[in-house]
Symmetry: C3
Subunit: 369 residues, 3 copies
């Protein structure tokens, strides 16, 4: 049935990726504790080690070690010692190009000590684009003179002019449940006054969060949502994307991209089928799941039409994560699509086309790269 | 361990099925857009193509193409062009018999342009039986003269006399959460008056929905519930069958059948273990999942006792779907039960018996066919 | 890659286990109905047979039959007849040692006719330790003279002095949703008065349940929570461990152990990553899932750090269950870890270490055995 069983594996191994949701890699040196904390997404306490004893820790040793010239599965201490011989920039110059990514879409809303889009482009040898975080725009508007709503719109328009999309971390600011309709101008003015009076930092006011979302809808550029897995500051059950249903029903015309999604990837796939403008990816989750990521990638390929699925690493901090996301995605796709073809459920030709869609075509079209 | 490794595969391939929840196939000609829309369960917008770019679209090309004499994995355009040479009745006369179904249990609550039970029997060469939709009975009672409750009961008794069961789409009319106890006669009369005054169409009144469910319980014939996956008019998170717990605690004596169930099939399996009168199936989901259906069928075989699991396609519209449900179920069972036996977790003898239970014995007993 | 492909399988087959959550096995003779009911976790109605027609029933015949000298997959009637030739103590003396368990941590809160810790030690030839059920302490305090809070604390201190941990069945007493903060002394006194006046049995008062949890937190010994799958007296959707988030945020310092977890094992794994003091296991679920348990064990190995995962059988009643939990866990770990190593995602050396962690090291450290 399959003309050459290795053709699909080769394509998946070599295909150029658009990493459509990523943060900057570190630029400054740090200690082992910082590194271990960066391997744990959910915990907000300082690492009490052994931070490598997880699927992600094992995957770093298995897949990142060889990029540094170490044997596969090298022990944690040797990995750390060897890594410490390089600066973060040197590490980035090894790991970022090894990811096989042509375009990085960088959420600039966090990470004072990490590379911005220009840095990511320079370190990787690829292109980089900005994604603007709505809650950061709000915090800038809170500090700006004049009316809040006008300031928000002006800052958003200015920043979005050179950006490819927007991003919301509503998941971390109370979650998705409750009213997400557009507030009135009077409600916004009142809420903004209250927030400014109390300092205007770390936006949690629901009226202003809703206002930002609806401004992003009008902007029309793809709007990314953090969904599911994150640190324990969020109530995970309030990040179920089904709680966005009423919002999605009002969102036609602006692409909505559901990020990460674990453990709600099946619900996200349903939404990607139900709404023409909904997309999803599995960034962050793939890294966290390591050897278990093929089962997750397989579930991403259930209800979502194949033109609605994107690739991302959600790398942040260690440049290992920007590379590992790609390495694990390639392995998972080889297993999952390889099995579909080996079982003659899919033709190899179809599998090759789906690889191209998810790797770059869908993102290139969506973000107009 | 296994006397003949192909005996199980052969039995699964040949076993006669009872398709215990299905709708009629199309009778009149239609265009490509209608066909593509029929491949997308969740979206209610008109297809903007490419409607074949999904697991279901790939599965149609893989498994339905050969029934029409086309090569496996034929391209979408060739599939559509070839299909267009036949009338819907001609297609039904090819696909329905190919499903290997002896009895079709037809939910007649939707589909003015689709075959009824008599048509399904004639087109397939099998037997057909009616399942009466409670919300349609309510809408008939709203238009009938006299007291609503009496009219409902009379129509239900009349229609159910020749039917094998009832069906509720409460999932689409507000979902499962909230009070599902039996309303008083006064509440029913008041709600019916209000509904009749406003036109008496598309029942959404909770009092009358609850009234219908409790009438169906008294009737004692199996009561089917749409659960989980459906179009976006329903709030998917309100179709979690665990929200039926209080209702199920009052339902002893009348079989309750949970349909489709994705992504709540594990919760449905729990309920099938917890209540003697609860059953489940995975119709619709198996078609939607295509190459991913074996993983789903495997989860249906977790907590539910094997005498509580049924087969259905939930086919509606294209006769492909009535066939594909059977084809994918057979493939999935071969993989899942084949692995159980190959790993010596189950004996082949047990596997053969479970095939017969799910394929027909459970349904034949439940619906007294 | 793997020096000896059978080394891992051999280690998993032979490794000594700590069964950190278990109940006593039966001591007195009983009939077939009692045995079949013991194979169904969720249903509370008397078995209407055939109780063996489930994954658990098949697994008993596959794995427990040979311990009694019967062929694998022996038919149910022969199994029952053969089993009936032995007393429950004789069965325990066969099944308990066959589990390969060095230490049994016995929840003594249910089972008047079952073995206590001393009995489990004597029948198995291993060690046994007590886990004190908080709701039983409450019921003892309700019957004690004097102030309720003081009585609770005195009884808890006395019983915990020789116990290794505590256990809560809050899941069965209204579930996890709602306020779980510490009540005031006045609230406790008032609630206790009310409860004592009404008889002081089967605690369901939320104030007193919360009081007990916070006393257990102060005690500092590991606190086990029944999570997920249980009988139908609980509302399964109210046992989602994410509903414990606020409680966990107040619990630092006292280990919290999430038991069973199906179908919320991915959510539990997230919590084990998010909180230094949260642990999880899959006892009960592994037995219930039988041939499907490898997929479940694989999901336990997703987000949870490997030092946070424990082994248990949750055996209760038939000594088969104490053995079967171990047998199915070993099979599942061989498949899951065997695949990780065969695919070169993990090294064999890492896999061997993770086996030791989950089998005994994590529990030995946590409970200070």
């Amino acid at each position: 049935m399959v003309s050459d069983p290795s053709a699909l594996a080769q394509r998946i191994g070599e295909v150029t990726l658009v990493d459509h949701h990523v943060h900057g890699c570190w630029l400054a040196a740090g200690d082992l504790r910082r590194f271990e904390n960066a391997l744990n997404e959910a915990n907000t306490e300082p690492s009490t080690g052994p931070g490598f004893d997880s699927q992600l820790g094992f995957a770093v040793r298995a897949h990142c070690g060889p990029v540094l010239g170490l044997p596969k599965h090298v022990d944690p201490q040797s990995y750390w010692e060897h890594r410490s011989r390089f600066s973060e920039s040197e590490l980035a110059r090894m790991f970022l190009p090894a990811a096989g990514v042509s375009d990085w879409l960088v959420d600039t809303g966090i990470g004072a000590d990490t590379a911005g889009p220009a840095g990511m482009a320079e370190l990787s040898g690829g292109r980089a684009h900005e994604v603007v975080r709505l809650e950061e725009v709000a915090e800038q508007a809170a500090q700006a003179p004049g009316e809040y709503a006008a300031a928000f719109e002006e800052i958003l328009a200015l920043r979005a002019a050179t950006a490819v999309g927007t991003k919301s971390i509503l998941a971390y600011r109370g979650g998705f449940d409750g009213d997400l309709s557009e507030p009135s101008a009077a409600q916004v003015a009142e809420a903004a006054g209250r927030w400014r009076d109390s300092g205007g930092t770390r936006l949690r006011d629901r009226v202003l969060l809703r206002f930002g979302l609806h401004r992003a809808l009008r902007l029309g550029k793809p709007l990314q949502f953090h969904v599911g897995l994150g640190d324990r500051d969020c109530d995970l059950h309030k990040t179920n994307p089904l709680l966005l249903l009423d919002f999605l029903r009002q969102s036609a015309g602006t692409p909505i991209v559901l990020l990460h999604c674990y453990p709600y990837e099946r619900e996200a796939g349903y939404l990607a089928q139900a709404f023409d403008n909904v997309y999803l990816d599995g960034g962050l989750s793939v890294n966290q799941l390591g050897a278990r990521s093929p089962a997750f990638v397989a579930r991403l390929l259930e209800l979502a039409p194949f033109r609605k699925i994107l690739y991302s690493s959600d790398g942040f901090g260690p440049a290992e994560l920007h590379f590992l996301g790609a390495a694990l995605w390639r392995r998972a796709m080889q297993r999952v699509l390889g099995d579909f073809v080996a079982d003659d459920d899919w033709s190899e030709r179809d599998a090759l086309r789906v690889v191209d869609l998810i790797a770059h075509d869908n993102a290139a079209g969506l973000y107009r790269l």
